[in-house]
């Protein structure tokens, strides 16, 4: 049982604030992904949980025990690093056994656990090799096996797949998900890859400039972004945003289209819609086609709407050419509204 509670954790490097008061609870056995662009503080937060970095303020609790003053070895964690950190002077066997030997487990237990995890990660034929004789993917497997062999309460992963090539990454992603679900450990996984985050996570914490903007299930984060940043960061292509002007209380004009919306004191707010949530028809937003990209399953159309870019995903058999004027009708239940000042969802 290992619930992780992060209470008001902040981190300052000199004058630079890497993390502003973070509050996050990760429930037992949950797979939590910290997602954000580089420099958003996600790795710093992970390293604070690991004990490799000291928070400037705040508390970290793992399994009901306050750990922020403890060294990494006393926190019941195991970590997988981006560059694998497989010890070059030890064999694969001794790498996986390293932590078990530190725990002074009997040789029989060490052998059993190493063989079990090696089998799980499909590296049982590599046990006698050294890291220099392994490929990147194999080293990654050793690093994961070494973490799993510890049977930790919590596994922390810092962009573990980003040094692998695309095909291998896809394969390892699926495998990691299976292995970690079976191991029943709590996992924090740091990545900048939104596809990785969506496919692995029970819950995604989207981070931006040292803050958690939204922490919710992948579908929730995708469908109901809590802030404009989440909508513009997640999704490929990202959400479209168009300014909306008030016509009456609860009624807004968006690029020539009048839509019912939230009640607000403001004169202008932002209308948002995902590219796949519009249909080309006789009524809707006025759009002039600029670029047409047939992608196979669908066609990506980049349009001009009120001087801004607007991307729409249309069916691949739609007859669209550059210069065409389209009317794009947003699906009513998929429309989202944002406050332009706070950038929060309305």
């Amino acid at each position: 049982m290992a619930e992780i509670v992060i209470k008001q954790v902040a981190k300052r490097f000199g004058g630079f604030t890497a993390l502003h008061s973070i509050d996050l609870t990760i429930t037992d056995q949950e797979f939590m992904v910290l997602l954000g662009a580089s420099g958003c503080g996600k790795t710093t937060l992970l390293r604070i949980v690991a004990g490799l970095e000291t928070p400037s303020q705040g508390e970290v609790w793992i399994g009901g025990r306050r750990v922020d003053h403890l060294p990494p070895r006393d926190r019941g964690i195991a970590m997988v690093f981006q560059n694998y950190a497989v010890f070059p002077h030890l064999t694969v066997f001794e790498n996986i056994a390293f932590g078990l030997r530190m725990k002074k487990l009997p040789q029989q237990e060490v052998d059993g656990r190493v063989n079990r995890t090696a089998e799980l990660m499909h590296i049982e034929q590599l046990l006698k090799r050294y890291s220099g004789q392994l490929s990147g993917g194999q080293r990654q497997r050793v690093a994961v096996a070494r973490a799993l062999a510890m049977e930790p309460d919590v596994i922390l992963m810092d962009e573990p797949l980003s040094n692998l090539d695309a095909l291998l990454r896809l394969e390892m992603r699926a495998e990691l998900k299976g292995v970690l679900a079976a191991s029943k450990t709590t996992t924090i996984y740091v990545t900048h890859d939104q596809v990785e985050a969506m496919s692995l996570a029970d819950r995604i914490a989207v981070m931006h400039q040292g803050r958690i903007v939204q922490a919710a299930s992948p579908v929730e984060v995708y469908r109901n972004p809590a802030a404009r940043f989440v909508g513009s960061f997640i999704g490929n292509p990202p959400m479209n945003f168009i300014p909306a002007t008030k016509t009456a209380n609860g009624s807004w004009t968006v690029a020539g289209l009048t839509l019912p919306g939230p009640k607000s004191d403001k004169q202008t707010i932002e209308f948002a819609i995902r590219p796949e949530d519009v249909d080309a028809g006789n009524e809707g937003i006025n759009a002039t086609v600029r670029v047409v990209e047939p992608l196979g399953p669908h066609t990506l159309v980049t349009c001009d709407v009120e001087g801004g870019l607007f991307r729409a995903i249309l069916e691949s058999n739609a007859a669209v050419a550059v210069g065409d004027h389209l009317r794009l009708a947003p699906k009513p239940d998929r429309i989202r509204w944002f406050d332009p000042e706070t950038t929060n969802a309305l």
Binding site: G51, A78, F81, F87, H89
Partner: protein
């Protein structure tokens, strides 16, 4: 377009000339370095008569007369022992102080780090003769004069900057993640150093130690000024070979140079690393 065409014609000739220049420079430098060593070895391995004879033989006669006379020369054995003792002490001291400093420089950010690195180099900026006289006075006052440890302390100040810089580049080359991984796997800082960093750094540390040994082995000025009874080999040779016959000088020179050459050759890889030259 015409300039491109001209260039492409001119290029092979220019490259050829450049190659000649390169080869000539390499040969010149090799002769510059190797010829004295060659003469030293040939003469050391020749009989006393052959040393003064002319013309020279290209290959030495492998007559060990000069060398055996040198070895049995009164005081040589003691000086040799002193040299080894002082060099060993220098080696232990410079690694004992230098390696922790190199580790700290590579792993921690602390105020004044750049200044510290600069100061480490600055210690080499003072000429030894400038320091030797005040040091001699101070050593006499403290009773450190004419002792192996006193001389080793001076040699350590000479060797320490190199020990710091070599170990700094050595530790910097070991990813910090390896250490962090060890910490998460149950190690204290000390255990992680012993189980992960030390095995990886050991060959380089040994190289740095050998280099410190060689610096002490070769040093003559401080040794000549600060010792009287307990002379090291260099100081002893400087003092006694001035009046000796030529063949003895050659034997003494060879006895000094050859161990140093072998040591430096053994650790060349790490010395290149210190100066940032990739070799392999």
């Amino acid at each position: 377009m015409s300039t491109v065409a001209e260039l492409s014609i001119a290029a092979p000739e220019a490259r050829k000339a450049g190659n000649w220049l390169l080869v000539a420079t390499v040969i010149l430098l090799c002769v510059w370095v190797l010829l004295p060593i060659y003469l030293l070895i040939v003469n050391a391995l020749s009989s006393p008569e052959q040393v003064t004879a002319f013309p020279k033989r290209f290959f030495p006669s492998f007559d060990f007369g000069s060398l055996s006379f040198f070895i049995n020369f009164a005081g040589v054995a003691k000086a040799l022992w002193n040299s080894v003792l002082v060099a060993t002490l220098t080696m232990l001291l410079s690694i004992g102080f230098g390696a922790p400093a190199g580790y700290a420089l590579s792993r921690f950010d602390f105020p004044g780090k750049e200044t510290f690195r600069f100061l480490v180099l600055m210690t080499r900026a003072f000429p030894l003769p400038l320091l030797a006289l005040p040091l001699a006075v101070m050593f006499i006052r403290t009773g450190l004069d004419d002792t192996a440890i006193g001389l080793a302390l001076v040699h350590t100040t000479l060797a320490l900057p190199f020990a710091v810089l070599i170990t700094f580049s050595l530790f910097s080359g070991i990813p910090v993640e390896l250490e962090e991984a060890a910490w998460t796997l149950g190690c204290t800082r000390l255990q992680a150093f012993r189980k992960v960093i030390l095995p990886l750094a050991l060959p380089g540390i040994a190289a740095s130690a050998v280099f410190a040994f060689t610096i002490s082995w070769n040093e003559v000025f401080a040794a000549a000024v600060l010792t009287i009874e307990n002379r090291t080999l260099t100081a002893f040779l400087l003092q006694s070979l001035g009046e000796s016959p030529l063949y003895l000088k050659f034997a003494g020179g060879a006895a000094l140079v050859i161990p140093a050459l072998i040591f430096i050759f053994a650790v060349r890889k790490y010395l290149f690393a210190m100066w940032g030259i990739a070799n392999r």
